[in-house]
Protein backbone atom coordinates (compact mmCIF):
# COMPACT_ATOMS: atom_id res chain seq x y z
CA UNK A 1 0.00 0.00 0.00
CA UNK A 2 2.74 2.48 1.02
CA UNK A 3 4.78 1.61 -2.06
CA UNK A 4 2.07 2.76 -4.48
CA UNK A 5 1.43 5.83 -2.34
CA UNK A 6 5.09 6.86 -2.56
CA UNK A 7 5.11 6.33 -6.34
CA UNK A 8 1.94 8.38 -6.80
CA UNK A 9 3.40 11.18 -4.67
CA UNK A 10 6.61 11.16 -6.71
CA UNK A 11 4.61 11.50 -9.94
CA UNK A 12 2.42 14.37 -8.81
CA UNK A 13 5.24 16.53 -7.40
CA UNK A 14 6.31 16.97 -11.00
CA UNK A 15 2.97 17.87 -12.62
CA UNK A 16 4.38 18.39 -16.10
CA UNK A 17 5.62 14.82 -16.16
CA UNK A 18 2.36 13.17 -15.17
CA UNK A 19 1.51 10.18 -17.28
CA UNK A 20 -2.19 9.58 -17.09
CA UNK A 21 -2.04 5.84 -17.64
CA UNK A 22 0.58 5.46 -14.88
CA UNK A 23 -1.56 7.27 -12.31
CA UNK A 24 -4.76 5.39 -13.10
CA UNK A 25 -2.97 2.05 -12.93
CA UNK A 26 -1.20 2.90 -9.67
CA UNK A 27 -4.46 4.08 -8.10
CA UNK A 28 -6.23 0.88 -9.06
CA UNK A 29 -3.42 -1.22 -7.54
CA UNK A 30 -3.43 0.97 -4.44
CA UNK A 31 -7.19 0.63 -3.90
CA UNK A 32 -7.05 -3.16 -4.20
CA UNK A 33 -4.55 -3.18 -1.31
CA UNK A 34 -6.29 -0.45 0.72
CA UNK A 35 -7.29 -1.54 4.20
CA UNK A 36 -9.94 -0.09 6.47
CA UNK A 37 -8.95 2.19 9.35
CA UNK A 38 -11.65 4.56 10.58
CA UNK A 39 -11.49 4.43 14.36
CA UNK A 40 -8.99 7.23 14.86
CA UNK A 41 -10.52 10.43 13.43
CA UNK A 42 -11.48 13.64 15.18
CA UNK A 43 -15.13 14.60 14.61
CA UNK A 44 -18.68 13.36 14.87
CA UNK A 45 -20.48 10.73 12.83
CA UNK A 46 -19.53 10.58 9.15
CA UNK A 47 -20.68 7.83 6.81
CA UNK A 48 -17.97 5.39 5.74
CA UNK A 49 -18.22 2.87 2.92
CA UNK A 50 -15.19 0.65 3.31
CA UNK A 51 -12.38 0.61 2.48
CA UNK A 52 -11.46 3.97 3.98
CA UNK A 53 -8.03 4.50 5.52
CA UNK A 54 -7.47 7.49 7.78
CA UNK A 55 -4.00 8.37 8.98
CA UNK A 56 -3.66 10.02 12.38
CA UNK A 57 -5.20 13.33 13.36
CA UNK A 58 -7.70 13.59 10.49
CA UNK A 59 -10.55 16.00 11.22
CA UNK A 60 -13.99 15.25 9.75
CA UNK A 61 -17.04 17.54 9.79
CA UNK A 62 -20.78 16.85 9.70
CA UNK A 63 -22.72 15.11 6.94
CA UNK A 64 -19.62 13.70 5.31
CA UNK A 65 -19.60 10.58 3.10
CA UNK A 66 -16.23 8.91 2.63
CA UNK A 67 -15.74 5.83 0.49
CA UNK A 68 -15.41 3.46 -1.03
CA UNK A 69 -11.66 3.61 -1.73
CA UNK A 70 -10.53 6.68 0.15
CA UNK A 71 -7.15 7.36 1.75
CA UNK A 72 -6.70 10.48 3.87
CA UNK A 73 -3.22 11.50 5.00
CA UNK A 74 -2.23 12.72 8.47
CA UNK A 75 -3.46 16.08 9.77
CA UNK A 76 -5.85 16.60 6.86
CA UNK A 77 -9.22 18.29 7.29
CA UNK A 78 -12.49 17.19 5.68
CA UNK A 79 -15.14 19.78 6.52
CA UNK A 80 -18.98 19.59 6.45
CA UNK A 81 -21.04 18.20 3.54
CA UNK A 82 -18.07 16.64 1.73
CA UNK A 83 -18.37 13.49 -0.36
CA UNK A 84 -15.27 11.62 -1.50
CA UNK A 85 -14.82 8.30 -3.30
CA UNK A 86 -11.91 6.59 -5.10
CA UNK A 87 -9.57 9.35 -3.98
CA UNK A 88 -6.19 9.81 -2.33
CA UNK A 89 -5.64 12.83 -0.10
CA UNK A 90 -2.08 13.27 1.10
CA UNK A 91 -0.88 14.77 4.43
CA UNK A 92 -1.76 18.24 5.74
CA UNK A 93 -4.52 18.93 3.24
CA UNK A 94 -7.47 21.22 3.86
CA UNK A 95 -10.39 21.10 1.45
CA UNK A 96 -13.52 23.25 1.40
CA UNK A 97 -17.07 22.59 2.54
CA UNK A 98 -19.39 20.83 0.11
CA UNK A 99 -16.60 19.40 -2.05
CA UNK A 100 -17.41 16.30 -4.07
CA UNK A 101 -14.30 14.47 -5.27
CA UNK A 102 -14.36 11.27 -7.30
CA UNK A 103 -11.22 9.56 -8.56
CA UNK A 104 -8.95 12.44 -7.53
CA UNK A 105 -5.56 12.94 -5.89
CA UNK A 106 -4.92 15.90 -3.60
CA UNK A 107 -1.25 16.78 -3.18
CA UNK A 108 0.44 17.18 0.19
CA UNK A 109 0.00 20.55 1.98
CA UNK A 110 -2.77 21.67 -0.41
CA UNK A 111 -5.32 24.09 0.98
CA UNK A 112 -8.57 25.05 -0.73
CA UNK A 113 -10.30 27.82 1.15
CA UNK A 114 -13.59 28.05 -0.73
CA UNK A 115 -16.85 26.11 -0.77
CA UNK A 116 -18.62 23.99 -3.41
CA UNK A 117 -16.60 21.96 -5.88
CA UNK A 118 -17.54 18.91 -7.92
CA UNK A 119 -14.51 17.31 -9.55
CA UNK A 120 -13.64 13.95 -11.09
CA UNK A 121 -10.45 12.35 -12.44
CA UNK A 122 -8.08 15.15 -11.41
CA UNK A 123 -4.98 15.96 -9.44
CA UNK A 124 -5.47 19.00 -7.19
CA UNK A 125 -2.39 20.92 -6.09
CA UNK A 126 -1.45 23.99 -4.10
CA UNK A 127 -3.31 26.73 -2.32
CA UNK A 128 -6.49 28.34 -3.64
CA UNK A 129 -8.69 30.87 -1.89
CA UNK A 130 -11.12 31.07 -4.81
CA UNK A 131 -12.36 28.42 -7.23
CA UNK A 132 -10.68 30.10 -10.21
CA UNK A 133 -7.29 29.95 -8.45
CA UNK A 134 -7.48 26.16 -8.22
CA UNK A 135 -4.72 24.23 -10.04
CA UNK A 136 -5.89 20.89 -11.42
CA UNK A 137 -4.54 18.36 -13.86
CA UNK A 138 -7.09 16.06 -15.43
CA UNK A 139 -6.37 12.36 -15.97
Amino acid sequence: MKEELTKIEEIIVNPTGIKISNIQELMETFFVKLKNRVDNYIGDYPTFIEPVYLEDNVKIGDDVLLGPNVYVGANSEIPDYVEISNTIIFDNVKIGENFKLENCIVAKNSSFNFKNLNLKNSVLIGVANLKNELQTIGF
Binding site: F31, V38, T47
Partner: protein, 238 residues
Amino acid sequence: MSDKEEREISRIKEVESTNLARDDIRELVIETKKAVEKDNDLLANRVHRNFLDNNIKSFDIVGAIGAGKTALLEKIAEKLTPKFRMLVICGDITTRVDADRIEKYNAETIQINTGRECALNAYHIHQIIKNKDLQNYDVIFIENVGNLICPSEFVLGTDKRIIVVSITEGEWVVEKHPMLFKKSDIAVINKIDLKERLGTNVEKMIADAKKINPEIEVITTSAKTGENIDKLMELIGF
Protein backbone atom coordinates in the same frame (compact mmCIF):
# COMPACT_ATOMS: atom_id res chain seq x y z
CA MET B 1 -21.29 25.20 26.47
CA SER B 2 -18.53 23.58 24.39
CA ASP B 3 -18.26 24.05 20.62
CA LYS B 4 -19.30 20.42 20.14
CA GLU B 5 -22.46 20.88 22.26
CA GLU B 6 -23.24 24.12 20.42
CA ARG B 7 -22.97 22.32 17.06
CA GLU B 8 -25.19 19.49 18.28
CA ILE B 9 -27.87 21.93 19.48
CA SER B 10 -27.74 23.74 16.10
CA ARG B 11 -28.15 20.44 14.29
CA ILE B 12 -31.16 19.45 16.42
CA LYS B 13 -32.77 22.85 15.89
CA GLU B 14 -32.21 22.55 12.16
CA VAL B 15 -33.83 19.12 12.01
CA GLU B 16 -36.76 20.21 14.17
CA SER B 17 -37.34 23.34 12.12
CA THR B 18 -37.50 21.20 8.99
CA ASN B 19 -40.03 18.87 10.56
CA LEU B 20 -42.16 21.77 11.74
CA ALA B 21 -41.64 23.76 8.57
CA ARG B 22 -43.03 27.26 8.48
CA ASP B 23 -46.04 27.86 6.23
CA ASP B 24 -43.96 29.75 3.68
CA ILE B 25 -41.49 26.92 3.16
CA ARG B 26 -43.69 23.89 3.85
CA GLU B 27 -44.34 23.32 0.16
CA LEU B 28 -40.63 23.44 -0.61
CA VAL B 29 -39.90 20.95 2.19
CA ILE B 30 -42.55 18.55 0.82
CA GLU B 31 -41.30 18.90 -2.76
CA THR B 32 -37.72 18.30 -1.64
CA LYS B 33 -38.75 15.18 0.28
CA LYS B 34 -40.61 13.86 -2.78
CA ALA B 35 -37.58 14.58 -4.97
CA VAL B 36 -35.28 12.67 -2.58
CA GLU B 37 -37.61 9.64 -2.66
CA LYS B 38 -37.91 9.79 -6.45
CA ASP B 39 -34.13 10.03 -6.88
CA ASN B 40 -33.66 7.03 -4.57
CA ASP B 41 -36.21 5.02 -6.56
CA LEU B 42 -34.48 5.84 -9.87
CA LEU B 43 -31.11 4.84 -8.50
CA ALA B 44 -32.57 1.66 -6.97
CA ASN B 45 -33.94 0.72 -10.40
CA ARG B 46 -30.47 1.17 -11.88
CA VAL B 47 -28.93 -0.99 -9.12
CA HIS B 48 -31.53 -3.70 -9.69
CA ARG B 49 -30.97 -3.68 -13.43
CA ASN B 50 -27.22 -4.16 -12.81
CA PHE B 51 -27.96 -7.13 -10.57
CA LEU B 52 -30.36 -8.67 -13.10
CA ASP B 53 -27.96 -8.12 -16.01
CA ASN B 54 -25.38 -10.17 -14.10
CA ASN B 55 -27.84 -12.91 -13.06
CA ILE B 56 -27.44 -12.02 -9.39
CA LYS B 57 -30.14 -12.82 -6.85
CA SER B 58 -30.43 -9.98 -4.35
CA PHE B 59 -32.08 -9.46 -0.98
CA ASP B 60 -32.45 -6.56 1.44
CA ILE B 61 -32.75 -7.76 5.05
CA VAL B 62 -34.38 -5.36 7.51
CA GLY B 63 -35.28 -5.69 11.18
CA ALA B 64 -34.58 -4.32 14.63
CA ILE B 65 -31.24 -4.63 16.42
CA GLY B 66 -31.10 -8.09 17.96
CA ALA B 67 -33.85 -9.64 15.80
CA GLY B 68 -31.34 -12.13 14.38
CA LYS B 69 -30.57 -10.72 10.92
CA THR B 70 -26.86 -11.49 11.23
CA ALA B 71 -27.46 -14.91 12.81
CA LEU B 72 -29.74 -15.82 9.89
CA LEU B 73 -27.16 -14.56 7.42
CA GLU B 74 -24.53 -16.73 9.10
CA LYS B 75 -26.78 -19.76 8.54
CA ILE B 76 -27.54 -18.72 4.96
CA ALA B 77 -23.83 -18.13 4.20
CA GLU B 78 -22.94 -21.50 5.68
CA LYS B 79 -25.34 -23.17 3.25
CA LEU B 80 -24.67 -21.03 0.18
CA THR B 81 -20.94 -20.34 0.05
CA PRO B 82 -19.84 -23.90 -0.79
CA LYS B 83 -21.75 -23.53 -4.08
CA PHE B 84 -22.40 -19.83 -4.69
CA ARG B 85 -20.33 -16.65 -4.67
CA MET B 86 -21.92 -14.47 -2.02
CA LEU B 87 -21.46 -10.79 -1.21
CA VAL B 88 -22.97 -9.31 1.95
CA ILE B 89 -23.20 -5.55 2.40
CA CYS B 90 -23.67 -4.73 6.09
CA GLY B 91 -25.16 -1.46 7.29
CA ASP B 92 -24.54 -0.28 10.83
CA ILE B 93 -24.20 3.06 12.55
CA THR B 94 -20.67 2.05 13.51
CA THR B 95 -18.39 -1.02 13.83
CA ARG B 96 -17.95 -4.02 11.49
CA VAL B 97 -19.03 -6.60 14.06
CA ASP B 98 -21.70 -8.11 11.78
CA ALA B 99 -19.47 -8.18 8.70
CA ASP B 100 -16.74 -9.98 10.69
CA ARG B 101 -19.25 -12.60 11.87
CA ILE B 102 -20.54 -13.30 8.36
CA GLU B 103 -17.06 -13.33 6.82
CA LYS B 104 -16.25 -16.41 8.90
CA TYR B 105 -18.67 -18.32 6.64
CA ASN B 106 -16.66 -17.46 3.51
CA ALA B 107 -18.88 -14.71 2.18
CA GLU B 108 -17.24 -11.50 0.98
CA THR B 109 -18.41 -8.55 3.08
CA ILE B 110 -18.44 -4.79 2.78
CA GLN B 111 -19.31 -2.64 5.77
CA ILE B 112 -21.11 0.67 5.51
CA ASN B 113 -21.03 2.75 8.69
CA THR B 114 -23.86 5.19 8.31
CA GLY B 115 -22.92 7.47 11.22
CA ARG B 116 -26.06 9.47 11.80
CA GLU B 117 -28.22 7.85 9.13
CA CYS B 118 -30.73 5.23 10.30
CA ALA B 119 -31.04 3.34 7.00
CA LEU B 120 -29.08 2.46 3.90
CA ASN B 121 -30.18 4.03 0.64
CA ALA B 122 -29.76 3.19 -3.04
CA TYR B 123 -26.88 5.65 -3.40
CA HIS B 124 -24.81 3.73 -0.84
CA ILE B 125 -25.33 0.52 -2.82
CA HIS B 126 -24.66 2.25 -6.13
CA GLN B 127 -21.34 3.60 -4.78
CA ILE B 128 -20.27 0.07 -3.89
CA ILE B 129 -21.26 -1.70 -7.07
CA LYS B 130 -19.71 0.92 -9.36
CA ASN B 131 -16.32 -0.42 -8.17
CA LYS B 132 -17.23 -4.10 -8.38
CA ASP B 133 -17.15 -6.58 -11.20
CA LEU B 134 -20.62 -8.02 -10.62
CA GLN B 135 -19.80 -11.07 -12.71
CA ASN B 136 -17.93 -12.31 -9.64
CA TYR B 137 -21.13 -12.83 -7.63
CA ASP B 138 -24.18 -15.10 -7.69
CA VAL B 139 -26.07 -13.64 -4.75
CA ILE B 140 -25.98 -10.37 -2.82
CA PHE B 141 -27.51 -9.76 0.59
CA ILE B 142 -27.79 -6.30 2.07
CA GLU B 143 -28.21 -6.25 5.83
CA ASN B 144 -29.80 -2.91 6.59
CA VAL B 145 -29.22 -0.77 9.69
CA GLY B 146 -31.09 -2.28 12.64
CA ASN B 147 -34.45 -0.63 13.07
CA LEU B 148 -38.04 -1.10 11.89
CA ILE B 149 -38.83 2.44 10.79
CA CYS B 150 -36.34 4.28 8.55
CA PRO B 151 -35.59 1.50 6.00
CA SER B 152 -39.21 1.64 4.78
CA GLU B 153 -38.44 5.01 3.14
CA PHE B 154 -35.67 3.70 0.89
CA VAL B 155 -35.75 0.77 -1.51
CA LEU B 156 -32.29 -0.53 -2.40
CA GLY B 157 -32.84 -2.24 -5.74
CA THR B 158 -32.97 -5.86 -4.61
CA ASP B 159 -35.22 -8.67 -5.87
CA LYS B 160 -36.88 -9.06 -2.49
CA ARG B 161 -37.00 -7.48 0.92
CA ILE B 162 -36.96 -9.78 3.94
CA ILE B 163 -38.16 -8.42 7.27
CA VAL B 164 -36.90 -10.20 10.39
CA VAL B 165 -38.58 -9.86 13.78
CA SER B 166 -38.02 -12.01 16.84
CA ILE B 167 -40.58 -13.20 19.32
CA THR B 168 -38.57 -11.49 22.07
CA GLU B 169 -39.77 -8.16 20.64
CA GLY B 170 -43.32 -9.00 21.75
CA GLU B 171 -46.44 -10.02 19.83
CA TRP B 172 -47.33 -6.40 19.03
CA VAL B 173 -44.15 -5.71 17.08
CA VAL B 174 -45.79 -6.50 13.71
CA GLU B 175 -48.87 -4.31 14.10
CA LYS B 176 -46.74 -1.47 15.45
CA HIS B 177 -44.60 -1.38 12.31
CA PRO B 178 -47.02 -1.81 9.40
CA MET B 179 -45.05 0.13 6.78
CA LEU B 180 -42.08 -2.23 6.60
CA PHE B 181 -44.38 -5.27 6.51
CA LYS B 182 -46.35 -3.63 3.70
CA LYS B 183 -43.13 -3.10 1.75
CA SER B 184 -41.56 -6.53 2.37
CA ASP B 185 -41.90 -9.83 0.47
CA ILE B 186 -40.92 -12.28 3.20
CA ALA B 187 -41.45 -11.99 6.96
CA VAL B 188 -39.23 -14.09 9.19
CA ILE B 189 -40.36 -14.53 12.79
CA ASN B 190 -37.15 -15.62 14.49
CA LYS B 191 -36.12 -17.10 17.86
CA ILE B 192 -39.05 -19.54 17.71
CA ASP B 193 -37.05 -21.83 20.04
CA LEU B 194 -38.01 -19.45 22.87
CA LYS B 195 -41.77 -19.73 22.24
CA GLU B 196 -42.59 -21.98 25.19
CA ARG B 197 -40.52 -19.98 27.63
CA LEU B 198 -41.81 -16.56 26.55
CA GLY B 199 -45.40 -17.52 25.76
CA THR B 200 -45.46 -15.06 22.85
CA ASN B 201 -48.59 -15.27 20.71
CA VAL B 202 -46.80 -16.14 17.44
CA GLU B 203 -50.11 -16.87 15.65
CA LYS B 204 -51.11 -13.24 16.24
CA MET B 205 -47.81 -12.06 14.75
CA ILE B 206 -48.40 -14.21 11.64
CA ALA B 207 -52.01 -13.03 11.33
CA ASP B 208 -50.98 -9.38 11.73
CA ALA B 209 -48.35 -9.69 9.00
CA LYS B 210 -50.89 -11.28 6.62
CA LYS B 211 -53.51 -8.66 7.49
CA ILE B 212 -51.09 -5.80 6.74
CA ASN B 213 -49.76 -7.44 3.57
CA PRO B 214 -51.78 -10.42 2.22
CA GLU B 215 -49.02 -11.14 -0.33
CA ILE B 216 -46.24 -11.54 2.23
CA GLU B 217 -44.73 -15.00 2.85
CA VAL B 218 -44.40 -15.63 6.59
CA ILE B 219 -42.04 -18.17 8.12
CA THR B 220 -40.99 -18.93 11.69
CA THR B 221 -37.33 -19.78 12.28
CA SER B 222 -34.68 -20.31 14.87
CA ALA B 223 -31.26 -19.22 13.68
CA LYS B 224 -29.92 -20.77 16.88
CA THR B 225 -31.25 -24.31 16.39
CA GLY B 226 -31.51 -24.15 12.60
CA GLU B 227 -35.28 -24.78 12.66
CA ASN B 228 -36.90 -23.96 9.31
CA ILE B 229 -33.69 -22.55 7.82
CA ASP B 230 -34.09 -24.99 4.91
CA LYS B 231 -37.62 -23.66 4.34
CA LEU B 232 -36.24 -20.13 4.32
CA MET B 233 -33.65 -21.19 1.75
CA GLU B 234 -36.46 -22.53 -0.43
CA LEU B 235 -38.40 -19.27 -0.06
CA ILE B 236 -35.42 -17.29 -1.34
CA GLY B 237 -34.94 -19.69 -4.23
CA PHE B 238 -32.07 -21.94 -3.11
